[in-house]
Symmetry: C2
Subunit: 398 residues, 2 copies
């Protein structure tokens, strides 16, 4: 029997999905499971997008341009301009979600054996994309005690080698919710320029910024045009994960021409998704006000509840819809599985993501979990109660 | 300024798209261009699929399962069973078109430096996917004089090295339209078993088989369960290229488990496309009868017209909707560009794909072009007339 690839063997399993069989077993036993483990919001997709799909009238569902429909890219450029990000349609390649945009970025600028610096904890699938491309992740440790702020510049400089090609940050951050300040982005810019690295920013949570804070885009760092690459997606913005529409943006023409070759090889991004995403650009501002208000309430429930638990700690992040919380436990992988396998409170339990899967360094995040606050406040309150009760009886508590 | 990857530099440009600027310029001059260059059919997408999209009623467009919706996979398995291909839902991973399925297959079984054997001419994007994965293509020459039949087994054996991991065939073939016989598939099976290689079959044109011939699937080769991988797509079957829905199928559990890790890293295939593709499974049989009848007429127009041109030759393929024709020219790249730049007949011209882009071996296919017969018979007759007139005056004629 022929074998599989080394790359395939090395590909990490999703830290979120490996607990799925335990959740399914719990449900079979009649236990209700609150899903705090995934970034699938319960928010409605804007009606204007759904209407466009219901009114779809083309007779032949054709390939679109490999870079995406011109009409969609033109309108999308306007969205960025409204957000003070000065780009045009020709700086955009539409992709199958941010996932494909990350893949195109990595493939266009890195070869097997090259290195990418990522502050950890980080979005677990960055590991997958790096493994896929044979690229080595050099993590920079960011600490829960200061809310996962950017590590000092010296840490980055220590990680740079001649193999380093890029730094990637997610801003606001998944899994920590951390929102990078203008000053932190300036630090990243300095490093990128000094060592001639690309700075890739995954800004899919741009709209999810709280407490009057402001989001700063990588595209607005002056003098960094040739080094900056923006990763984006409509998945979270419009609660439209199933559209599979994202994009890759850069003013570096060589990067874009190279990414286009990868884009042409896969022919085109999804046509229906592009139609819905184009229509979604007409989503009224009130939609976002309501959604942001809702997420602030949800975050507050989670952060306040956790901080009331003895021995637990949760920073109060300013963006996205995740928190990484520290719990008085030895092993979050075991704890999250135990919650599903051996625990129930009022015949209910919670599914969380062990934070270990968001660290590249082995052994980190063992006393941390990621919580996605994508449920309504009632369910979140109950979920936090369950977590509190669980920690009272969990045998692996420290 | 930071550079781009070697892989990115090596990525081939699409042989179909590189002439696009010349076609656009021709249109600007007021010349009508008949597009024989792409596999975008003009056939209507089945109404039953369009209706499903217009009736889409979910409130949140969520991620689907990474392997695709269970409901769609269940129904899709039934489609294969009806086609005498005995698989179940668990043997299927839904992908963003056949493109992603090919990528998953290559990544799951091959590492950088490995080799894949492909009879040439072959679908140009196989080159892109191989380059992307750092895999070397070992072409086996198939000849227009016998209609691009499978080369003798000895040719394959000469190409096998210890780095060889797989053979890929497209059946019916793009770009040649060649339909592999049961005997030819048995030859491939022998080689796969003897050298322990995967046999990947891209069967996206399964329905497009003419003159009473029968399609034979790789999945029906007895004793090859652990070696066979099927690539499929709804793009051509339902004239639904924009759905971006394909699939990867294998009974080899290790391959599927590995491919699932790549599938999870990109989260999920498009949700709207899956809904439309599921509904398309209810397409009445009459749709295919009509489409096949139409394509037979189109093929006959093209094949007969070309064979009437002095010095030209076109085999009469039994499947897909392409032919590779030999013309009395020195350089088809130059000829195809000249057609757009310097020629018009009755203020019209044709856009074809130079066959050189479908060969891996440099210098091959210089006197051949690929024609996609995706236009109605009237337009095809006129296109063939244009080609005939062009060859009368083309300065590079031999």
């Amino acid at each position: 029997m022929p074998g599989i690839s080394n790359k395939g063997k090395l590909m990490p399993e999703s830290p979120i999905r490996k607990l799925v069989p335990f959740a399914e077993a719990a449900k079979k036993r009649g236990v209700k499971v609150f899903h705090l483990n995934i970034g699938q919001p319960d928010i409605k997709t804007p009606e204007v997008a759904m209407e466009a799909i219901r009114n779809y009238s083309e007779k032949v569902v054709e390939y679109s341009h490999s870079a995406g429909n011109q009409k969609y890219r033109d309108k999308l450029a306007t969205y960025y301009q409204k957000n003070n990000i000065d780009i045009t349609a020709s700086d955009i390649i539409i992709t199958a979600g941010a996932s494909e945009a990350i893949l195109f970025a990595i493939q266009s600028i890195m070869d097997e054996g090259d290195e990418i610096i990522i502050p950890e904890p980080f979005y677990a699938n960055y590991n997958g994309f790096a493994t896929n491309a044979g690229v080595k992740v050099k993590p920079i440790f960011s600490h829960i005690s200061n809310g996962f702020a950017l590590p000092p510049i010296a840490e980055f400089e220590k990680a740079v080698t001649e193999k380093t090609k890029a730094i990637i940050v997610c801003n606001p951050n998944n899994p920590t919710g951390y929102l990078y300040s203008k000053e932190e982005l300036e630090v990243l810019k300095q490093i990128a320029l000094k060592y001639d690295l690309y700075l890739i920013a995954d800004e899919v949570y741009r709209e999810f910024v709280y407490d009057g804070e402001k989001h700063h885009s990588v595209m607005n760092l002056e003098g960094l045009d040739q080094h900056s690459i923006l990763i984006d997606s409509v998945s979270k913005r419009y609660s439209a994960c199933g559209f599979r529409i994202g994009c890759l943006i850069s003013k570096n023409k060589q990067v874009m021409a190279t990414a286009m070759k990868f884009a042409q090889a896969r022919l085109s991004p999804p046509s229906f998704g592009q139609v819905a995403a184009e229509a979604a650009l007409e989503t009224p501002a009130s939609y976002f006000t309501e959604v942001v208000d809702e997420y602030i309430q949800r975050r507050d429930v989670v952060v306040q509840s956790i901080n009331k638990i003895e021995g637990a700690y949760c920073p109060n992040p300013k963006g996205a819809f995740y928190v990484v919380a520290k719990l008085p436990i030895k092993d979050s992988d075991h704890f999250c599985q135990w919650l599903l396998e051996d625990f129930a409170f009022e015949n209910q339990t919670v599914m969380c993501a062990p934070a270990s899967g968001f660290y590249s360094t082995k052994g980190y995040g063992k006393d941390e979990i990621r919580i996605s606050y994508v449920l309504n406040t009632g369910d979140l309150r109950q979920s936090m109660k369950i977590l509190e009760e669980a920690l009272k009886v969990y045998p692996g508590r420290i």
